[in-house]
Symmetry: D2
Subunit: 345 residues, 4 copies
């Protein structure tokens, strides 16, 4: 399934939903091959027990010992918040390139980290050594980098919707409102009462109202793109579906719809994975794909623009984006091994 | 099932989802009984063919001829936009009290109607004769009224969340952002490709971005409550569930969470169907019930309040609220025949 | 909500799905009122924390101490397998009538119990003191009884489909095949990985293939009705929905469809909760209702009849049927407090 | 995406669910490329309007004119029953290899066709020129064939479960009972009231009880494999999910579980797409994959074996199997372009 001369890849955190997607994508990648699979509580299990949809022989999940990645080209870390920092640091010292899908190294300063996570960073001096892995906005920094922190699913959808407009000065940086809905896989694979089918099916709820830790990450991206200081309000919601994420972003603007669309088309006209679309997109259109679809309308009644973006939270919002970053880091074609087509119905 | 001395009720539009709920609720109401069931395209069908979950003998759906409601105490109209105006007018002339679940008589002026629906009202001189049927805000007007226009599901959820805060001067009337998600029953029972299971399941989409006709209705309520002029941006979304509606409302405020909650508790402390709750509510908590749950948090970072409200779009958002209005019009206890308990799982 | 002279009811196991339905039904019952709510692990919790869809003031869940039901008219037990036996025995000694929704007292002999559950019954001498609570088949035994073991959801659906045909000698007692699908609430409220939304949604699986413990219970009913010895093969499946159960039952017959229907109509023509229908029924038609719908077709190609029956597993398959039994035990009208209408959509 | 020297492929019926999967699979196939896309009512539409999940430029759907496939290597027909016969005949005369995913040429004799479809075949003399496209059972006939009729989804699942056992004489050919559940995509993309989300979600129903036209197709496979005469009863059900199909097959046997498993392992040990598994499989394990998983248990109580098989009805049950056949017809590796990994969650 892989060429002999491919990149050897370690995946730490292979037992979660994002980890499973990484295994699937690397298995099918034309120039990557899996060199090691590590997990925490499921260490010692067969891959097929943990991910019964992933065949391919008897593959055992090992531990999270970084030494097991010795000599690999790159390691993906798909671990809970707080579990990546030390491991990432050790891998980097071993000369293994790292894409961390977790949140430990996304913030650019210790202050921003504390604002987001309410605690001090364990290795604050290392924060500046990491690149934020959103290729459409920061491609130049990612090419050839060895330490990339891939964004969360909500910031990916919101940033792709808002950042070009902010950078072009088309929207105001204050008073931005981001509402988003996510499929349940975004909440992880933990065995919790509130994630039972009987709790989730046929129901919607908001969570972390006013306090979600992805809000500072979104502001950081807008500040980075503009040199200004943004402030936004973010409210996430869980909806009864497995995958898919939709962000509805409101910002003040004095422009009309065509001016807004012009900026978005200029930003994404040549991007393989981002498309500006004429009708409000459904999340299902991108499930299974690494694409992000963006739709924008100016509501002149309130002098605001509504930008709607959709992604697959496990693809462009996690594993797909991590592969996209890894391609740039390792010198592969950026879209290598990344499906454009989704799955319907 | 009904007492001999109950209110005799006609239901026009009994074949749709809201019509089915009206039949179910009136059948179980201690002082109402069904006197006539009318429908448009399903006229001539047995009720049980159209609503296989509603037993109770062989009941045929008749036409939309208003004469069939002669002598009834009250008629519910659950018809598409534009189909109520003439029928409602004729019923009112016959002395039959009317609760219109449709949108024809919700607007208070011909101007507001034109803004919402993009056309002139067919009977503009009659608009002022109708009362807006949201009991928690306009109870005094509804008691004993003979023509009540019940609100739409989105305006019910948004108005209950925002109106007390607006009336108390706690939030700014400009720059309000309302995002809402609704189960599919809110889109009606039309046989359309975009409402197939294969289109809706496992997907979310926004619709009518920047143009939804419920937006002026929401502003009308806030203006009525405050004497001011509000402006808000409204974006509705469809999510893959049958019932349930959640509105996430953002408004500028200089107050803190406890001050906001104080206003809401004062407004709803004695209401049987509205409750202020400490945690973000799930729509499933109110499906099958006429309740509305409200949760509010001030985000001091952006000086805004986020108010989340949930209802069952077919109950408090349609049939339940219509029964509640009818109870007030006919002198019944307001909560008569209206379940508080929902259905889980 | 209840009359002053109603039956006082204790519910042990009020925190599960069936327990929640019992609370909802007793709250709305015209001649029952809740006297005590007991639970195991959720003892000490507020009812509203455990069942957020059930309002009605601050009600705390107590322990499973039988003394708390002293002086009550009847106790419902909705506890896991094995947890009812001793408690039921103590309640019965206290003179409290008992409806056990669990499986401890359903089998008529210690031998049958051992066959079903693979262990000896803890109180084998008491088995004969219990009545099997399927009113349509054993009404005379239930009227005035003080110890009733309500059937499981699968045996209810299969027995209502097959028992009249067996009793009339229309089908062979050997070679019966019952396949059934159930909504997830039938699997209970346990917090297990295999019941997560991410595991259940968009998936179907069979379970307990060849070994399900409800099989001997189904055979017992057929044997009781016929005096013969039946043998059947039963395979249950979980499908991604909250409620609803459909049984597809195959049996050998030499009759044609009209003869089979004649037997079914004769058996159920006067039953309030069982209806023979002309088209294959959908489970949704009975969700929220205590009804069972039955459809039968003879496949002359294989000389067999296919009988399809649908119920709401938490209503006619659990709490509704328990109320129906309690009505018969306490001298209430059999259909008192039991909805015929379901909920759609 | 395709090599220069690949097989040129026409797809007639590209607008349906199976057609969309064919486009997706051919687009990703290493040695196939799309030469023509035809449709009936959606002729003239852009592919992206019809299948918004399939990007890849502006591709228009043409008509069903066979001339448009002139010079192509192979045509897939994914058309409604009855729409393939003439088109297939014309394509074959033009020298284009044909895989018909429809039912027109699956039956081996005009008599069997009439039994299944209740009408005479329009081109009865051509039936014998077609090969039944189930590679695991009839690989030798498919290799190099030019006219292949791919099986329906239900017969694929049932035949893979039963045929090796029948061929080995391990089960009786009479009295077989097949129950199956299918996701909604199996019912096609027609805009019908009974396929609305509001009708399907949270509900299960049986259909075509005693009369489904796939039953004779299943018997034909067993008869072909054994030289005997089988008779089976088949009942299909729709469950609320997009994809996936599970067949639960009962047959009389005098063997035990280990003997049954031995036969199945011998039959499928070297098959890339069929696997015998130890635990009851969930349909989700194979959604997106071309795999079929089979689980078997002998119920000694009734001397019968229960064989459960799961497939993705649009993959191994339609488009995936068609590609597998085409690979054999065109000399490609059998598994070329066919994913083993599925998608979870």
């Amino acid at each position: 399934m892989n060429t002999a001369v491919g990149n050897r890849i370690a995946i730490f955190g292979a037992s979660g939903y994002a980890g499973g997607e990484l295994v699937r994508l690397v298995d099918a990648h034309p120039s990557m091959e899996i060199g090691y699979l590590g997990a925490h509580s499921r260490s010692g299990s067969e891959l097929r027990e943990v991910h019964p949809h992933l065949p391919g022989g008897n593959r055992e999940l090992g531990s999270l010992n970084p030494d097991r990645a010795q000599g690999m080209d790159l390691a993906f870390l798909a671990l809970p918040h707080g579990a990546s920092a030390l491991l990432a640091s050790e891998l980097a010292e071993m000369g293994v390139a790292v894409v961390d899908l977790g949140s430990d190294f996304r913030m650019d300063t210790p202050q921003r980290y504390r604002e987001a996570y309410g605690a001090d960073h364990p290795l604050p001096e290392q924060l500046s050594g990491w690149v934020y892995g959103l290729p459409e906005l920061f491609r130049d920094r990612i090419i050839g980098a060895s330490r990339v922190a891939a964004p969360g699913c909500y910031p990916t959808a919101a940033s792709l919707a808002l950042a070009p407009l902010a950078a072009a000065g088309v929207i105001e940086l204050e008073g931005i409102v981001v509402n988003a809905v996510s499929g349940i896989s975004g909440a992880g694979r933990g065995v919790k009462s509130e994630l039972l089918f009987g709790s989730i099916d046929e129901s919607v709820s908001a969570y972390a109202v006013g306090t979600h830790r992805h809000r500072p990450e979104m502001e950081q991206v807008l500040d980075d793109m503009t040199g200004g200081t943004s402030s936004l309000s973010f409210t996430p919601h869980l909806v009864p579906m497995q995958r898919g994420l939709l962000a509805t972003c409101h910002a003040k603007t004095s422009r009309d719809t065509s001016e807004v669309l012009e900026v978005l088309h200029a930003a994404y006209g040549n991007e393989p994975f981002v498309e500006v679309v004429d009708a409000p997109p459904a999340t299902r259109w991108v499930v299974g794909s690494n694409r992000c679809l963006i739709h924008a309308v100016v509501d002149s009644h309130t002098s605001s623009v509504v930008v709607v973006s959709v992604i697959d939270n496990l693809m462009k919002g996690a594993a797909g984006q991590a592969i996209q970053c890894a391609n740039l880091m390792l010198g592969n074609p950026e879209d290598s091994g990344l499906p454009l087509a989704g799955w319907m119905p």
